[in-house]
């Protein structure tokens, strides 16, 4: 898979500033290339620009300067619909606050991206159930989010993120709202997803322990990349999969 010549994500000279009142520069001249199947931990203190970077990568936001390429295509030049479809099919997103739709049950939440893509109700539900089984939470499938624990919600969110079998998984502090034990469960779930599907994973975290699940570690400080280390032993480990 690493033979694929085009990197899955390329961030080139990106600057992102917010100009409400005083100008805040959330990201400044960031370059980052992420290859297929990599697991990258993005670290840094609160306010260092991690979420901003993730939002740019998934096309929810556009950079003030520079380019973000997904599979070689500049997100900024695409229409909003195209960006949205990429998010729907090619990127799974996991959030600190789970972000499930409160009115839908677990299975309905998971089936939602499928149904947005025009898949018939029954088929979508079947696939969703299968995916829920994979994340190991079948007994909660027909409950609404408010009837689930944080860990269960995050598992549903992961199932939703994986429903299209996307090449990229973006996780913004997925364990931030969970106790360390449940957090560990979620991280191993991500780990098994990676080994099963070879999914590229971007994991935003400021938890050292969580970062150990990734072979590459990018550290941000005040919107700049201050460190980019790759643990080669772990890379080798991946390619053997």
């Amino acid at each position: 898979m690493e033979n694929n010549p085009i990197p899955v994500i390329e961030v080139k000279g990106v600057r992102k500033s917010y100009a409400n009142g005083a100008e805040v520069c959330a990201l400044d001249d960031v370059d980052l290339t992420i290859g297929h199947g990599q697991r990258v931990a993005i670290m840094g203190q609160s306010g260092s620009g991690k979420s901003t970077l993730l939002n740019l990568i998934c096309g929810l936001d556009v950079p003030t300067k520079g380019q973000v390429l997904f599979e070689g295509r500049d997100l900024a030049t695409m229409s909003d619909d195209d960006r949205t479809r990429i998010r729907r099919v090619k990127m799974g997103m996991i959030f600190q606050t789970f972000n499930l739709l409160p009115t839908l049950t677990g299975v309905e939440n998971v089936a939602l991206p499928l149904r947005l893509n025009g898949v018939a109700l029954r088929e979508a539900n079947e696939k969703a159930l299968a995916m829920i089984e994979k994340v190991g939470i079948t007994k909660r499938a027909h409950h609404r989010p408010d009837e689930m624990s944080g860990g269960e919600r995050q598992r549903i969110a992961i199932a939703r993120a994986l429903i299209f079998d996307p090449p990229v998984l973006l996780a913004d502090e997925p364990t931030g709202n969970l106790d360390s034990h449940t957090g560990e469960d979620i991280l191993s779930l991500l780990e098994s997803v990676h080994s099963e599907f070879g999914t590229t994973i971007l994991l935003v975290t400021h938890n050292e322990h969580a970062a150990e699940h990734c072979e590459r570690r990018v550290t941000l400080l005040d919107g700049k990349i201050v460190a980019d280390e790759t643990d080669t032993s772990r890379t080798a480990n991946v390619s053997s999969v």
Binding site: L60, R87, R88, V89, N99, L121
Partner: protein, 853 residues
């Protein structure tokens, strides 16, 4: 602390200003309808009363004898009564100008040989322009007009003025112009004066006066003099202070006012829904804020006060705006009201300037604030009772759990059943106030059942939405199924608004159908010739000669003459119809609902009995054989009831007597309608021309075939309900506003959800479609709920209200086609209402929305 909390609230306003504005508009509309109705009503009553009082001049008492007037001999009696300082005979005729505009003008017949001290306002020396007083009295064609009227038509001394009279068009000559003051100022100056004795001739009032205006001498009180004159007069003649007469008119238009009051009540209900809705959402939205405030030590009372203060402020602002809008609405409505008053009740009034009544304004504002406080009470209490810990929890815990619980459902079913059963079985004697309570039970029951109803409705819509609109439709209804409480207040507002539209529509249709049936039975004639296009009129009658010339046309098989007037019965103005009973029965054999046809025919024709309308029987608690006391200008008649029929001409009731009796006791041979059955083979169209020729083409005459007449009556009913149609428009508008409100709120509230939806791959288009479909689903469910509630309300209206107000027994016909035709309309309104919110939803900034708390 209140200061800090107010500041927090004002911060909210800045963020959610659309919701704030919509809430204010909601209150404003409720207040506007209320204020407009009060203002219109008081203007109408003042105009009616003012007209009477102005026409009375300086008279302190007026002697009147109903629509037909009374014998001129009574003038002597009045003048002979000690204590009478001044007394003037008067005829009063609403005439039509024989000009293309056909304007109405009130023609007063006054004794121009007297010095008319009673009317000094209009005839004072400075205001009166008369070249030759002697010529005025000596020539029968003399007419005096008001300054205003003269100016409007550019009339000066010696000009001709053609008027339609019973004897055809008459040319009058202007010989005096008086000041537009007092009686000279009514009907916007459309007033003319002719000599009273000339007017008797011209307007078919030979030997009769309409009124005697009296002023007491200083040594006797008005009441004493009233008693003295009263003692000299038969029962059919009324002696009253002018002010008291105008109060009677208020009673005449009371049922119109009642209908309007019910409407303002409804407008407030819808308004309360909007406020409730808005505050429920506000509390929901500020969940976390409330949690934080509670956590840092704000008391429950503090939280509740924060919301109620907001409600009070919004209520005051909305109410003040509402009073302004209401005044404009009143301006638009007053013309319609005056028209109805004239056509339906025969009560004419000149539209005075609309009066801004500060008392009503204050009342309306207080009502607006109270409604807004009441509506905000439950949400604010819910906010205050919030568990701070749960409130500080995440969005996922925010969904309401206590939706459609069992006690609530049970209560709803019980209330609904109680309301319906009471409507069906309660005795009518309990009074309208208690009966209005039945509808409140019905509405309350429906409101309690709403969440369940929304759930059922959504489930029913689900497959349809899926089939037609795919996943967005499905998600839209699923949102409804999962969160029925969020939409409950909007569906409620729609339900109440549409229920009002449907029940009014049902009532109008039912009433029309009932009258249609009545006309088939009680007016089973080929041709109807009528002298006036008003239901009640004090002018424009055919003379007996004219009537005879029509009836003697060779095509006529049978003819009946009808004289329409009214009598005071039990303190109310009851219609009195004088038919040629033999012919009447011959033409309309299926007339009676109760009583033997043969016996009734011979009894009435001999003047030994009367027919009465069923509503009079109901209102007056009369049975067959009971004696009816009728006060005529020449004495009291006591006749037994020998037959009853459904007849809705007057909501106060109708009495039918033979024309012989009428002519004898009322001294009046005029005819208002001529009812004709034609010989077989006669062409009605040609016959109509023959009638026109026989009448001479100069007097107003309206000739209808049976079907045309029915259409005309239909139009009259529409006119009577014109204001209700206006209110229906307002109700729809308010309901649409409620929908806009909800959609704005829904989009606002679900900002985060929509953000998530977008984040995981929902297209803008899909978001928009989803929001629009949600609005469509809400409005379809609201429509269904409205139709059901409307059906119940209509049942109440025909079963109870029509009965209590007018004694009518009307069979309910529900306008199913109206419900169905409303479907596309409501969908369009829903899409229109949701369009901007949907656009806003599609443009949600995902990053902010997802991080939104």
């Amino acid at each position: 602390m209140t200061g800090v909390l107010t500041q927090i609230t004002s911060r909210q306003w800045r963020i959610h200003y659309t919701r704030l504005i919509l809430t204010i508009v909601g209150i404003a509309l409720g207040v506007a309808v209320f204020f407009a109705i009060q203002t219109t009503n008081v203007t109408l009553v003042n105009a009616l009363g003012g007209t009477i009082e102005k026409l009375a001049g300086r008279a302190t008492l007026q002697v009147t004898g109903g629509d037909t007037g009374f014998s001129e001999d009574y003038l002597k009696t009045v003048r002979a009564t000690p204590g009478v300082a001044l007394s003037e005979p008067v005829t009063e005729t609403m005439a039509t100008l024989a000009m293309p505009e056909g304007e109405k003008i009130v023609v007063l017949g006054l004794d121009t040989t007297s010095d008319l001290k009673l009317y000094s306002d209009m005839f004072d020396e400075k205001g009166l322009e008369v070249k030759n007083p002697l010529a005025f009295t000596s020539k029968a064609d003399s007419i005096a007009v008001s300054r205003k009227f003269a100016d409007r038509y550019g009339l000066k001394d010696g000009d001709k003025l053609p008027l339609r009279t019973q004897a055809g068009t008459q040319e009058f000559t202007v010989r005096a112009i008086f000041r537009s003051a007092g009686a000279g100022d009514v009907f916007d100056g459309n007033v003319a004066v002719v000599d009273v004795y000339a007017s008797q001739e011209l307007f078919g009032k030979k030997g009769r006066f309409d009124r005697i205006d009296v002023m007491n001498s200083p040594n006797v009180t008005v009441d004493d003099l009233k008693q003295r004159i009263r003692a000299e007069m038969p029962a059919g003649i009324t002696v009253e202070r002018p002010e008291r007469r105008s109060e009677g008119l208020e009673n005449t238009v009371s049922s119109m006012h009642l209908g309007l009051t019910v409407m303002s009540f409804l407008a407030f209900t819808v308004c309360a829904f909007l406020v409730f809705n808005s505050f429920a959402i506000s509390v929901n939205q500020r969940w976390k804020e409330i949690g934080v405030l509670r956590a840092i030590g704000v008391t429950r009372g503090g939280i509740q006060r924060m919301f109620l203060t907001e409600a009070a402020i919004v209520g005051v602002v909305g109410s003040i705006v509402g009073v302004g809008i209401g005044f404009m609405l009143a301006e638009a409505a007053i013309g319609v009201v005056l028209n109805v008053s004239l056509t339906v009740y025969g009560a004419a009034a000149s539209p005075g300037a609309l009066e801004f009544n500060y008392g009503f304004a204050v009342e309306a504002i207080v009502a607006g604030v109270v409604v807004s406080l009441l509506a905000a009470w439950l949400p604010s209490r819910a906010g205050a009772r919030l568990d701070p810990i749960a409130a500080l929890h995440d969005i996922e815990t925010r969904t309401s759990k206590d939706v459609a619980n069992l006690p609530r459902l049970a209560a709803g079913v019980v209330l609904l059943a109680a309301g319906l059963l009471l409507t069906t079985f309660s005795t009518p004697t309990v009074g309208l106030n208690i009966q209005l309570f039945y509808t409140l039970l019905i509405q309350a029951g429906m409101i309690l059942l709403l969440p369940k109803f929304i759930e059922w409705g959504s489930r029913a819509l689900r497959p349809l939405m899926n089939y037609f609109f795919g996943v967005e439709g499905l998600i839209a209804v699923e949102t409804l199924i999962k969160a029925p409480r969020r939409t409950a207040s909007t569906v409620g507002a729609l339900m109440i608004g549409l229920a009002f539209v449907y029940s009014t529509g049902a009532y109008i249709i039912s009433q029309k159908a009932a009258i249609d049936g009545e006309l088939d039975r009680s007016l089973d004639v080929d041709i109807l010739v009528t002298s006036s296009q008003q239901l009640q009129t004090t002018s424009n009658h055919f003379s007996a000669v004219t009537a005879a010339s029509v009836m003697s046309l060779p095509e006529v098989a049978i003819a009946d003459t009808l004289r329409i007037s009214s009598v005071n019965y039990g303190g109310e103005k009851v219609s009195l119809l004088a038919h040629d009973m033999k012919s009447y029965f011959a033409m309309s054999p299926n007339l009676l609902e109760e009583g033997d046809r043969q016996a009734a025919e011979s009894k009435t024709a001999e003047g030994k009995g009367v027919l009465i309308s069923k509503n009079l029987a109901y209102r007056g608690n009369l049975r067959m054989g009971d004696t009816v006391k009728i006060n005529s200008p020449t004495g009291t008649l006591e006749l037994p009831v020998v037959g009853m029929l459904s007849y809705s001409r007057s909501e106060k009731g109708t009495i039918f007597i033979d024309k012989g009796v009428f002519q004898k006791y009322w001294n009046d041979t005029d005819v208002d309608d001529i009812l004709i059955d034609l010989r077989p083979g006669t062409d009605p169209v040609q016959f109509k021309q023959r009638v026109q020729a026989a009448i001479g083409g100069e007097q107003d005459a309206f000739i209808y075939t049976h079907d045309e007449f029915k259409k005309w009556v239909d139009g009259l009913i529409d006119q009577f309900f014109a204001l209700f149609y206006l209110q229906m428009v307002i109700a729809i508008f308010v309901a649409a506003l409620g929908l806009v409100n909800t959609m704005v709120i829904s989009v606002d509230e679900r900002r985060r959800e929509l953000g998530i939806f977008r984040a995981i791959g929902g297209l803008r288009r899909q978001v928009m479609k989803m929001v629009l479909l949600e609005a469509v689903a809400i409005s379809l469910i609201g429509l269904a709920a409205g139709a059901i509630t409307g059906l119940f309300n209509a049942y109440f209206l025909v079963h109870t209200a029509a009965r209590v107000v007018a004694g009518f027994s009307v069979e309910l016909i529900f306008p199913y086609t109206m419900v169905l035709t409303a479907v596309p309309f409501v969908i369009v309104v829903a899409v229109g209402a949701a369009f901007l919110p949907a656009m806003k939803a599609a443009r949600t900034n995902v990053v902010e929305a997802v991080g939104y708390e």
